[in-house]
Symmetry: C2
Subunit: 386 residues, 2 copies
């Protein structure tokens, strides 16, 4: 039969990364393609303990339907962690999500009519492009440099597109570039968004994974107008398999997120929410994060050093102060998709940069991940790639 | 600030049931409002065992990112269970969802442009109305009787609205009416949908909870054209807190569901999927379901008998052969919302019928749930209500 799908489905395609990840499940491939945390740091023993504790003490609650907003002790822990970072927040400002990817989908659902404008960094996270595409927006890309989104460019963009509906940004260790927005630009971004009355979606999956330099305040911490929608997740600092993220927003906006969550999947599993809360009550998440950071810092260092040694001088790459990714620029005219084909023959994988640009089709970039390969694999993989 | 939301948000409101559920968390209320399974049957001890087993044997996999399609051994178990019920299916025809509510949201996303027509039973599941409303459809209600959706009415509706995009139905122990579609009508429904080339969304959360009479084949088992999209869930037969549902559909349609799942929340938690699979490999889910059914059968019986004895003759109610709900019809002109106010003063709760009609505003109905109150509570609650 010929099935008639909705118009939005024309925009939606399978994520090339997820398709690539399937390929890289072959054990002999050195994959710099994914964004997976290092599995050796998952606190498996501690999770056994807290899983038993949850089922022993609150088994019926863990396995029953729950409220949409999320498990209050978990929201309390998140509110405390965000408050420590200078964000004024209580548990009533928080909704638990099934990963922060869900927050991107919901932001699209809340704000975007077909044709509405989304301002984003160029390049930007391809999962955000895919999530927003379901709502048929136009993307307006704003150029970046080493300090993140360029504010002079943003100002011009806003003047020309003052009807934009949201500004999407990853201020810390951006995916795919690894770049971090400077303090000055953070303040300027909130100021401009407030002036133009356009909500900012601040996506912060990597902020706690800083290896070098001082932590910068989140956009949300400068938000006096209730204009910043903050998306957080435990997928990079704890365990992605639990699928726990959250959104923090002003009451008017959060109420809409809650309504959308109800109709989309009722609520996130209380089983995993209670396990995460028990873990964080018993153990120090910060200590766990320090362990992860120590590993990633070394892996990043090895990747940087090997690239400097092995890559031709015509290849440039970013030097992230945290997070999971570096972004490689090839000489103009080169096509990283063709290089990927050759790389796969040599059993190395990465993600071509083209999918991270919603409009422009720049072919001479690719993204490398350093968090889930050993130091030996990184040296070997970069050599093969070079 | 004045926030500009998308047009679709005008249609979306908070589910009155979920708001009501918050109210009924007061311990002295006898609530017939929710659709919660009886928590005393949750296999807490067995879940402790399988949670440990999963973390012991496959801890890193359980806590890591996973494929969008879902955990293959769980899909295998589901495919076997569905095959046993006469549905031709393999694991490649299945996608794991975060509860079957997510399947309703995704069906809306896949098929509905603003203004598109959804054909449904009158009344129908209010969670489906809310999920579809995000995509701004028109609902076309088709009248029901004791054998479910009336096929002569459907035939007229299809002739008048042959451009309808989906037909939504709950053939077994429908929510809210408790009614079951007859065998003859099931065949006719698939025949008509095939003739008009309109996909059917068959929502089957309660089908395995039959206390009386013979199990009827699903619509999917008559589907030769690949036109039936089957939504299943473990929320009523196992544990809703795990948030595990699934969709089975023809390859063309399933591929779109997978794309939508990727952009919406990447994948369902492997932690809970692996726990569910381990449980079903070690224990007989059917035995567990028999225990649940024995309890619900008695509770239903007590509710029916007490209503017959206590309710005035002008009140009619359905006699479900399974599932969780009965549907009470008051004399015309009465308003169940006003009765609810009085009932809450007497510490009894139910859901007024009005929200289950997407277009018509019939006030003289309400829904009663019998699965999560004890027999004593049912007797006492029905007496107070009478």
């Amino acid at each position: 039969m010929k099935v008639l799908f909705a118009d939005r489905m024309k925009n939606m395609k399978s994520s090339r990364i997820r398709e690539l990840l399937k390929l890289t499940e072959q054990p002999d491939i050195i994959s710099f393609a994914g964004g997976l945390p290092a599995a050796e740091h998952f606190p498996v023993e501690e999770m056994k303990e807290v899983s038993l504790k949850v089922l022993n003490e609150k088994g019926a609650q863990a396995l029953q339907y729950a409220t949409t907003e999320g498990y209050p002790p978990l929201r309390q822990i998140i509110a405390q962690r965000m408050s420590r970072d200078g964000i004024k927040i209580t548990i009533d400002d928080l909704l638990i999500l099934s990963g922060s990817q869900q927050g991107l989908d919901f932001a699209g659902k809340l704000f975007l009519n077909p044709g509405d404008k989304v301002i984003c960094e160029s390049p930007t996270y391809l999962g955000a492009i895919n999530a927003f595409n379901a709502y048929q927006p136009q993307f307006i890309e704003v150029a970046m440099d080493e300090e993140g989104m360029k504010m002079d460019e943003l100002e011009k963009t806003l003047a020309a597109h003052s009807d934009s509906k949201i500004i999407y940004t990853i201020p810390d260790f951006q995916n795919p570039t690894g770049r971090t927005m400077s303090l000055e630009r953070r303040k300027k971004l909130v100021e401009l968004a407030t002036k133009y009355n356009i909500p900012i979606v601040e996506d912060n999956p990597y902020g706690e994974l800083r290896f070098i330099g001082e932590k910068l305040p989140s956009l949300k911490s400068f938000d006096t107008a209730g204009i910043v929608i903050y998306l957080g997740t435990f997928s990079k600092t704890f365990c992605p398999g639990l699928r726990i993220g959250w959104v923090a927003a002003s009451p008017e906006i959060l109420q809409k997120f809650i309504i959308v969550k109800q109709s989309s999947d009722l609520h996130t599993s209380p089983t995993v929410q209670m396990q995460a809360a028990e873990f964080m009550q018993k153990y120090e998440l910060d200590q766990h994060i320090e362990k992860i950071k120590a590993t990633y810092r070394k892996r990043r260092q090895v990747m940087m050093e090997t690239m400097e040694k092995e890559f031709p001088a015509s290849c440039r790459f970013t030097r992230p102060e945290g997070g999971l990714f570096t972004w490689v620029q090839l000489p103009e005219g080169m096509d990283s998709s063709l290089i990927l084909q050759k790389a796969l023959e040599k059993k190395v994988a990465f993600v071509p940069g083209i999918d991270f640009f919603p409009n422009t089709a720049l072919t001479n970039y690719f993204r490398l991940n350093y968090s889930c390969s050993t130091e030996e694999e990184i040296v070997e993989g970069i050599k093969r790639l070079a």
